[in-house]
Subunit: 333 residues, 2 copies
């Protein structure tokens, strides 16, 4: 096995549970794992504002178990978690504005439900291995870039606070109870299956919808620097962490091959698409107060520990994404 | 007004709400404020395992409003918070072992209820000024000492994770909504009114109970370094932060005049008491895994921002504390 590359040997015949498994990244994980011979159950609430979409798994739906339920449903968790070898824990509320409008729901999903999942593992399946999807949002406004894992956590929204707590529970249960768990702090992840009807996952989803429709898209400010992870690279990070004991108890940034301003990203998208119009706008007031300026990640820690690094260049990833949505736009809007 | 010293002018005639106001620090705050002419309401659940004790306010109970309710009761909060000028927000679950045995209750009190308090302030009293009681526990095992506020947060128990979230909500509501709030990360606080029937607030409570009874007390390991804040100094920090706009949005460590090993603290306590026996034990297994080694705070930030610093030497504070419990032991065991 190449360092940092997981293989089917790690997962063939293994029982795998994916929360948020009908969502963007979760559905790609499910597809990869089922191709490798894993016994896959996906749990998803299909709440319309979140990322779940049955079309995401349509090509292999007959080969996985689909359980429509919410991670806030503690009663079902015991059965679902029992006997699993791996838990990819991706279910979450990801909308930043939503977390400000309804902070309690965000806490229920990103905080309390995570604690309940870990308590269930502790009581009924302490041998399970967990990879948790965290977010760069917990850092808030970077004090320096690239941001490494030593950077202070000072979230600028309720979502970031609750995701930080959810992440910390996982690391705590690893350290105190020996339930192997690690957390990945995702940056902007993009690719097929991402939400494009709104900006709840990434603003890039809306941009892609608009250029495919031949309509202008909005760039807010434009000079901010960002990094982007193509979904296949993110999936590889989840799989590599699941199969590598060096990941246990660790929190890792993911990152991208390139650092790019939003202006340059808009130009690249228009170029790859073969056309499009970007309109620059100043921030709406309600976004300005939770804007974070420049962000890009230092992903040295995960590269050193388990050998992961991003492989898909932005131009390639954007081309694949555009191709997917040209074929399937009606399933996502 | 002397820098870092609050005065009656800041609070005379002001309406003040203290959650956890029948507890250790909250009751001292109430006493000071009522002497200064403030209109004081204390909220306390009097849950037996927590710090509330009606005896703590017995000398001035007729001059304050005592409201027995729990901060998880969102319905009562609206009325209680309405019209207040200051909120000293000290209600919390503080037991570290309790947070591991019942993590959900810890989250309800230290997480969800805090969010509800802040939402209530946002909707019904955005002019209020809040000082929140946080804890050094959120740092986990120090990576260096003295620990300053730039130190990473990596709690070693569920309590630390939830207190970190509670603290972060306060800072967020300051930053995003302009609800003036700050947080104090308390180290071991000691003095009259502290819990001495168990170690839920500080192990020092048990030590004091034992030496007063003429019974041996247990020192676990003994070489760990700690700092201690006498309760009058802690109260002064809360008051100074409430009356100083420089505190808004800030998180400050409190600390002590001295750094001392537990062995030396035991010797000092025995000396001040005029007798006593300390027995050294190794850590019980369930404590060992959440032990943090040495901790003492760098409190430069609060000294620089608002001029607070500890003033009461350990020997003086211990003498006052012993004197109080010699008179009132029966009210606390």
């Amino acid at each position: 096995m190449t360092e940092g590359q997981s293989s089917h040997r790690d997962f063939a015949g293994k029982r795998v549970l994916i929360t948020g498994g009908l969502g963007f990244i979760g559905s790609h994980l499910a597809g990869r794992l089922v191709d490798w011979g894993a016994d896959v159950t996906v749990v998803d609430s299909l709440i319309p504002e979140y990322g779940g979409n049955l079309f995401n798994v349509s090509k292999f739906a007959d080969r996985i178990r689909i359980n429509i339920s919410d991670v806030r449903d503690e009663h079902g968790l015991r059965y679902l978690i029992g006997g699993q070898d791996f838990l990819f824990n991706l279910a979450g509320q990801t909308g930043h504005m939503d977390s400000m409008k309804d902070p309690e729901t965000d806490l229920e999903i990103n905080g309390r439900a995570q604690l309940a999942i870990l308590e269930t593992c502790r009581k009924f399946n302490p041998e399970i291995k967990i990879v948790f999807a965290s977010t760069r949002q917990i850092y808030g406004r970077p004090q320096y870039v690239p941001v490494d894992e030593k950077h202070l956590v000072r979230p600028v929204d309720v979502n970031g606070i609750n995701k930080a707590a959810g992440e910390a529970y996982h690391i705590l249960y690893n350290d105190v109870y020996g339930i192997r768990a690690c957390a990945l702090r995702l940056t902007n992840t993009y690719g097929p299956h991402m939400r494009i009807c709104d900006a709840r996952q990434t603003f890039l989803g809306i941009w892609i919808r608009q250029v495919i429709r031949g309509e202008p898209f909005e760039v807010w400010e434009g000079s901010q620097l960002r990094d982007f992870t193509y979904v296949d690279d993110a999936v590889e990070a989840f799989l590599a962490c699941a199969s590598d004991e060096n990941a246990n108890g660790r929190t890792f940034n993911l990152g991208g091959l390139e650092v790019i301003s939003l202006h340059d990203l808009a130009s690249l998208l228009i170029k790859v698409n073969g056309g499009g119009v970007a309109e620059t706008r100043s921030f709406p007031p309600e976004r300005k107060r939770i804007d974070i300026g420049d962000y890009y990640a230092d992903f040295t820690a995960i590269r050193t520990a388990i050998g992961w690094e991003p492989r898909v260049p932005l131009e390639v990833g954007l081309a694949r994404t555009l191709e997917f949505y040209r074929q399937n736009l009606d399933k996502y809007v």
